[in-house]
Structures are given as C-alpha cells and as structure tokens.
C-alpha cells in the first residue's frame, strides 16, 4: 500500500500549525462567500489567489481548497433557507431542502445536507487515495462521445420525473436549451442569439437565472401568500442537529448511492452539477417514498448533497493528474498551480509528492473541520428564518441583486435577474417545472459541444455512441432510463396477465 505510506507522509505535511490555521481561515471565508449568492466559490477563490503568490504551494492550495469546501457547504445553506442556490450543483438541494425549511424544520434540513455532504466528500477522498493511479487512466478513456453519453444519462435520470404534465416539462427544457445557446459557439466560433446586444456576448449566466427564477420568483410568491415564512415556528436548538445525526443511518442507501454517483461523475469528469441532478433523479425513481419527494423528504436532500460533494472532491484528482478542471473553481486553482510553478499532469505525483499528498491529506482534515464548523453554525443560520418577513424579505432582494451584480459587474444583468424573477413567478403560477430549465441551461451547451465534437469525429455517424463498450454501456443505460415509464408499464402488464391467466382457465 504505497499510497497509504504517501498519505501518512501527507498528513505530516498538512498537520503543521500553520496549515491547520490556513484550513480554518479558508473554511470560514468559504462559508461566508458561499452564503452570499452570486459571490460563490469561483469568485472567492479568484479574489484570494493574488494573496497566495508569495506563499509556499502546499499552504496556498490548502487555503484555496479549504475555501472551496467551505463555499460548497455555504451554498447549500442558501439553497435550503431561501431557495437560492449559490452554485449550480446545489440547485437539486432546493427541491426538498427548501420545503423542509419552510415547514419549520430548517435545523434538520441543514444538518441532513451538511452530514451527507461531509460523508460524500469523505468517500471522494478515500477513493482518491486508494485509486489515484487507476482513476487517471480511466478518465483518459473519456472523449466527446463518452461525455455526451454521460450528460445524456444525467438528463435521462432526471426528466420524466416531475409531477408536471410532460408537455410543460418539454417546454421548460427547450427554453433552457435555448438560453444555453446564447453567446459564442465553441464549435463554429460564431455568435448565436445575441441580437446585437454586447451584454449577451458571454451568454446568460447560470447565476443570474437562478437568482431570478428561484430567489426573486420565490419572494414574489411568498409576498402573494401573505408576507410570511412559515419557518417562523422553527424550534432552534443544537439538539436538533444531534437528533438528525442519529436518524442519518436510516437513509444509508441514498447516502451511499449518492456518494458513488458523485465520485464517478467527479472522476469522469461530468462534474458536480450533473452528479447532483442524477443522484436526485435516481433517488426519486427508486425510493419507496417517491411521492413525498419535493415536499421536504430527507432522501431528497441527502442524495444530491452526497453526490455534489463526492464529485467536488473526486474532481481534484483529474485536475492534478490530467490538468482537466472539473469545475469553474478547479479552473481557477489550476491557474494558481501554474503561477506557483507547478505543472498539473501525471508527473506532479512523482515530482512533488509532498504537494499532492499534502493536499490529499488536507482534504481529509479540511472536510472534517468544515463539517464541524458548519454544524456549529446551523442554529445561527436556522434562526435567520425566525426574523419577520418584513425585514428579511427586502434583505434577500438586496442580497439577490448584489449577487447578480458580482457575476459580471454589469447593469443589464440586474434587469435580466428581475425578468427571470417574473418568469419564475409565472412558471410557478402556471405549474411549469423550473428544474428542467435549469438542468438544460447548465448542461445544455456542454452536451451540445460534446455531441457536435462526436459528430465531427465520426463524420456524422451516430454509431460512435456505441463504438466501444464504455460509451455503449452508458448510452444504453440512458436509453433504458429515458424509456423507463414504458418498461415499467410493460412489466406491470405482464404481471397482470400472469395473475389473470389462471382465472381465464378456470
């Protein structure tokens, strides 16, 4: 177990006083930027980067990654309390987390989220430790067709699940795809759907859309329903956290499935967003309590959170070993690596084992530190909901618009957020689901790029999606999931026939 030896060496590197202090500072700063929607992990890490120029690389990466963990946890907080996801990957947490908080169970919702996130992250680090060699060669097998198949699988496991009419889901998905195409097209290098507005050059930012659809849309709805959060009745105590901890093992299936999906998507690297949606979709599909999903079901929080953090941590491996950043934040960190004079790539493990294993060891410690810190803040955050709506409502509006401003410091973004807020309100009133739109917006352009790259590679033949066992398996899985209602119906019929047949004979 050479890896374990290296890991112990890494702990020696990571467990110095200075590095542990950096971890604490990083996690706290991370929670702070994560809680402010719009600021988020990528911006936070970018702001912190210049400070690390003069630090030693191990300390620098520990500071930045700790901030990342903190921000991921912070992002879930706003998803649950205010229905405003701070990161694309915490959108799925809002589906059950926010209803739960509204019912006065914010403590439980936050604790479920943090505990399962911490668990997912741990699984991610353990896999990183044990399988670092194998994982990198596996990730190398992924090309555009495989990526498309993975995104297709994410769509397939999620669509067809919502309670809304299928036609409304389709409208929502198509709108999402349309928004995803705005801006520069990677494949042709030309601008699409910008209508001559320079502001649309960079495309429609995910954050603007969710701030509008979720944050402002939700506020409009709350105002109409009588200007109050039902969370006012929430009991706030640390005992609630412990209670949740005790109930946690009951949901071990969702927890482990979520973590594994997350790790797999982090390695491949499909990314945390696809992972959390896929995990939520599968949990809902195979849960015995599926009809309770969307109304504050613990499994609906556990599944996406475990997957999100599993993917977030596992994505560090392809970043270090291959130089593919799995997320926007990882991309910034990679820039940092180059500035500190390190080249991401397979040789990093050989040339700078102290750096790589110090980082991996710090991921163990950093995540434990993060879970303890966030759990301690749960009562504090949960009590925010007890503030009367007349005070907290306007504050959320301000925070939403500050968030929209930080994305690109441009005024039209504020209008866009407002417009999406109204769209979100109308969607809810007319019973159109929002989640498919967000999923299509986040994964739409990636899926499109991967599809068109595949078509260039195969010169237009769809056979490329079955050209090797890996891509063939993923594609087949996705097709089975998409057509699942049909198979389920068929099986029910066969079952019914079998029951009826003896009767006919009689």
């Amino acid at each position: 177990m050479a890896n374990l030896d290296s890991l112990f060496h890494g702990f020696v590197v990571a467990l110095t006083m200075q590095h542990v202090m950096l971890m604490m500072v990083g996690v706290l700063l991370g929670i702070l930027v994560g809680v402010l929607p719009g600021l988020g992990a990528p911006n936070g890490v970018t702001l912190l980067l210049p400070l690390t120029y003069t630090m030693d690389p191990v300390g620098a990466i520990i500071l930045l990654t700790s901030m990342y963990w903190g921000a991921l946890f912070g992002g879930s907080t706003t998803s649950i309390l205010f229905n405003i996801p701070g990161e694309p990957s915490s959108v799925a947490t809002t589906f059950d987390g926010h209803p739960m908080a509204k019912q006065g169970r914010a403590i439980q919702a936050l604790s479920f989220a943090f505990l399962s996130a911490g668990f997912g992250a741990m699984v991610g680090v353990i896999v990183t430790t044990l399988l670092s060699g194998w994982v990198t060669s596996f990730a190398l097998q992924f090309s555009s067709p495989e990526f498309f198949a993975v995104y297709f699988l994410a769509f397939a496991s999620f669509v067809g699940l919502s309670a809304a009419q299928p036609s409304k889901t389709i409208v929502s998905i198509l709108l999402g795809f349309a928004f995803a195409t705005v801006g520069m097209d990677t494949i042709s290098g030309s601008l699409r759907l910008t209508f001559g507005f320079d502001e649309l050059l960079r495309g429609i930012s995910f954050l603007i859309v969710v701030i509008g659809l979720f944050g402002i849309g939700e506020l409009l709805l709350t105002m109409e329903e009588g200007l109050k959060f039902e969370g006012v009745r929430a009991k706030v105590s640390l005992a609630g956290v412990l209670e949740t901890l005790v109930r946690m093992p009951r949901y071990w299936v969702a927890l482990i499935r979520g973590s594994l999906i997350g790790v797999w998507m982090g390695i491949t690297p499909g990314g945390p967003t696809a992972a959390s949606f896929m995990s939520y979709g599968l949990a809902k599909r195979f849960s015995r309590r599926r009809e309770h999903f969307g109304t504050g079901e613990p499994e609906g929080i556990i599944a996406p959170e475990a997957a999100d953090h599993g993917a977030g941590t596992a994505a560090m491996l392809p970043m270090l070993a291959l130089g593919i950043p799995g997320s926007a934040t990882a991309a910034v960190m990679m820039g940092g690596l180059m500035i500190w004079g390190l080249n991401p790539g397979p040789m990093l493990f050989i040339e700078r084992p102290d750096f790589v294993w110090g980082l991996i060891a710090s991921m163990y410690i950093g995540n434990v530190v993060a879970v303890i810190l966030v759990l301690a803040t749960v009562p504090l955050f949960a009590s925010i909901l007890r503030i009367p709506f007349a005070i907290i409502g306007p504050l959320i509006v301000v925070v939403c618009f500050i968030g929209a401003w930080t994305v690109g410091a441009s005024k039209p973004d504020l209008w866009l957020a407002l417009i999406f807020g109204i769209v979100g309100y109308v969607f809810k009133k007319l019973d159109y689901p929002i989640a498919p739109l967000v999923l299509a917006l986040v994964l739409g352009d990636k899926a499109e790029d991967a599809f068109r790259q595949s078509m260039l590679m195969s010169q237009g033949s769809l056979n490329i999606f079955f050209s090797n066992p890996l891509v063939g398996t993923i594609t087949t899985l996705a097709i089975i999931l998409v057509t699942w209602p049909f198979w389920a119906g068929l099986m029910r019929r066969v079952h019914l026939l079998r029951i009826r047949q003896p009767k006919v004979i009689e």
């Binding site: 980067l49 290098g189 001559g196 910034v332 260039l456 590679m457």
Partner: protein
C-alpha cells in the same frame, strides 16, 4: 474651437465656462506631465480563469507588485465570454480611462474579423506585445511519427482523415491547421475544444492524432512521455534550458522549418491594450512600466516556466507588427470564408 467656447459661455453661464476653460487650459499641460494611476488598476484577461491569458496577466501583476513599479493595487479579472470579446467590449466602454487594461493575444485584431462584435482593433490604444507563445506540433507519445514530414505524409495516406484537436474555433489553432493543410496537401478534421488543456487530454487518451498546443498547455503530458513534440513553428529553436523530459529540453525540439515545412513561423503575441481615447502620456507610462516588468526576475521565471519567447514591442514597432499580422491573418480567413467584417 473658440466659437464653441463662446457658445458654451452663453449657454452655461459664467461658472461652467470658467470650469471648462480650466479644463481646456490645463488638460494639455497635464498630458505633458507624468501620468500616474490614481486609483486601483484593473487587468482584464480576455479568456477564462486559469488559461494562458490569465496567467500572463497575473505574471505581470506579480512582477509589478513585487517590485513596486506602481503605487496602486492591481486587480486581475477574467472576462472570457465570446472567446474574449467580452473583455474588449468592456475596455472599449471605459473610454479614456488609463486604469483598465485589456490583456489578450492576437484575438485583439482577429476576433472582429470572424465574429460580429462591436469593436475594431483600431478602437484601442495598443500598449505593448510582451511575449510570443510558440506552437508545437504534438502527437501521442507512442505514435510512429518522428518529424513534420513523416506525420503529414501519414495523414495524407490515411484512409480516414486524421483528427486535429485545438482550442476554440476560427482562432490560432484552426488557422495553423489550415496552414499545415495548405503546406502539405494533407487533410485534417479539426475538432474544437474549450481549451488547449482539454485538447491535450484528448490526444493523451488517443482520441485524436495531433494538436498544435502552446508549450505550457502540454508540458505536463510531455514530461510523462504521453506526448511527443515533433517540431516547433518558429524561425529559431526555443531558448536553451534544463532538460524537461529525461532526454529533451525545449531547445532540443527542432523547428518545423528545419524539417522542411513551408511555414516560416507561426507565433502568437500576448498583447496589452488601453481603452480608446487614452492620452498618449498614459500609454507611454504603461509602456514604460511593462518594459520594466520584462527586466524583473519574476518575468524571466515566467518565460522559462511557460517556455515562451520574450520579445518586447511598443509604439510604432507594435503598430507595424499588428498591421502586418492583421493583413496576413485576414488573407487566410478570407480564403476559408470565415470573414464577417
């Protein structure tokens, strides 16, 4: 000029006209005097975080900070939307403001040719080209080719076309691919990815046959023997230095020209530009600062680490270079039917 001032006097009243006279009278005097940044400076990188342009901007930031070349703090931001067009639109809007600098590449003048964007390269006040990034023809480490000729001959003879990965569409990588095609008669299917890093991983995984990445985008894979550097598209070999792989330093990579390629040289300048209407004194100030940057140890370290060729150009030299490169690129784009402006 004078009648306008008189009109203004009548319209605006005495106080305003006095202020105006003050501005008119003192502005030229100010312009002659030394300009200095009076508030925090923003370096805007015309690409996503972590890419070559971001690292370029941060290297300049680091050199200025460590050597205290200016008194004001510097903020690096990335506006990579629209393949970097976002940066130029943003800096163009900051007319006359010497505190916003656009960091880019040749995309300063190639982007307006291929995309309908609301700026021309002549809108800006170019300050300097500080460094030239090289292009290397890479294949997989265990590929049977050893030089430009054997690779392009194989590409020509192959039954299915060879796949060339690259960063972005209608940008440097695809242009160079077309130049290689024209030079050798081989045909490639060009597959655009979001970044050179992604292209490099695709090649390492054996999903494509080649790419023409900059050295820094592929050095990690090269060190590990997963990629092979066939030749560099430069007039001379790259600077001498320590061995990067067990057997080769950057200097050991032959030039493509040595191997009989008809492409003289293909390099990408990294440029810095100021908003339209920035006073000449400000442009001169920044050109002076950037010149000093190139003399710092931090900058030398940056060049070695990223294996780029340092060549500083400013003033009329720079203008002549941009005009010439713009014409040359325009010709290729015209033949490919990419021109929109």
């Amino acid at each position: 000029m004078i009648p306008k001032v008189i009109n203004a006097q009548r319209a605006l009243g005495f106080a305003a006209s006095a202020a105006m006279a003050l501005v008119l009278g003192t502005a030229p005097a100010f312009a002659q005097a030394e300009w200095k940044p009076t508030k925090p400076v923003e370096f805007v990188g015309a690409a996503g975080a972590g890419g070559g342009t971001d690292i370029f901007a941060r290297a300049v930031q680091l050199a200025i900070q460590n050597n205290k070349l200016i008194d004001q703090p510097i903020l690096v931001s990335n506006k990579g939307g629209g393949s970097g067009a976002e940066t130029f639109v943003y800096v163009k809007a900051a007319e006359g403001d010497g505190h916003k600098l656009a960091f880019g590449t040749s995309n300063l003048y190639t982007l307006p040719m291929v995309a309908k964007v609301a700026f021309k390269h002549t809108d800006f006040m170019p300050v300097a080209a500080m460094v030239f990034d090289e292009f290397i023809l890479w294949t997989k480490g265990d590929a049977p080719y050893n030089d430009y000729k054997s690779f392009t001959t194989a590409a020509k003879a192959a039954s299915g076309p060879f796949k060339m990965a690259g960063a972005l569409s209608k940008d440097t990588d695809q242009t160079l691919t077309r130049l290689i095609e024209k030079d050798t008669g081989a045909k490639f299917v060009y597959i655009p990815f979001k970044s050179g890093g992604e292209a490099s991983v695709q090649l390492t995984g054996g999903h494509v046959q080649s790419h023409v990445n900059n050295p820094s985008e592929s050095v990690g894979h090269w060190k590990a023997g997963q990629l092979k550097a066939l030749c560099v598209f430069s007039k001379e070999r790259m600077a001498e230095g320590p061995k990067v792989t067990p057997t080769q330093s950057w200097h050991d990579i032959p030039t493509c020209k040595e191997q009989g390629a008809g492409i003289e040289a293909y390099q990408m300048p990294r440029t810095v530009a100021l908003p339209p209407g920035t006073p000449q004194a400000t442009v001169d100030f920044w050109a002076g600062v950037l010149k000093k940057v190139t003399e710092t140890p931090e900058w030398k370290d940056y060049l070695t680490r990223t294996a780029q060729t340092g060549r500083f150009m400013a003033g009329s030299n720079l203008k002549a270079f941009i005009d010439e490169d713009e014409k040359r690129t325009r010709k290729v784009y015209e033949e490919e039917g990419w021109l929109v402006n």
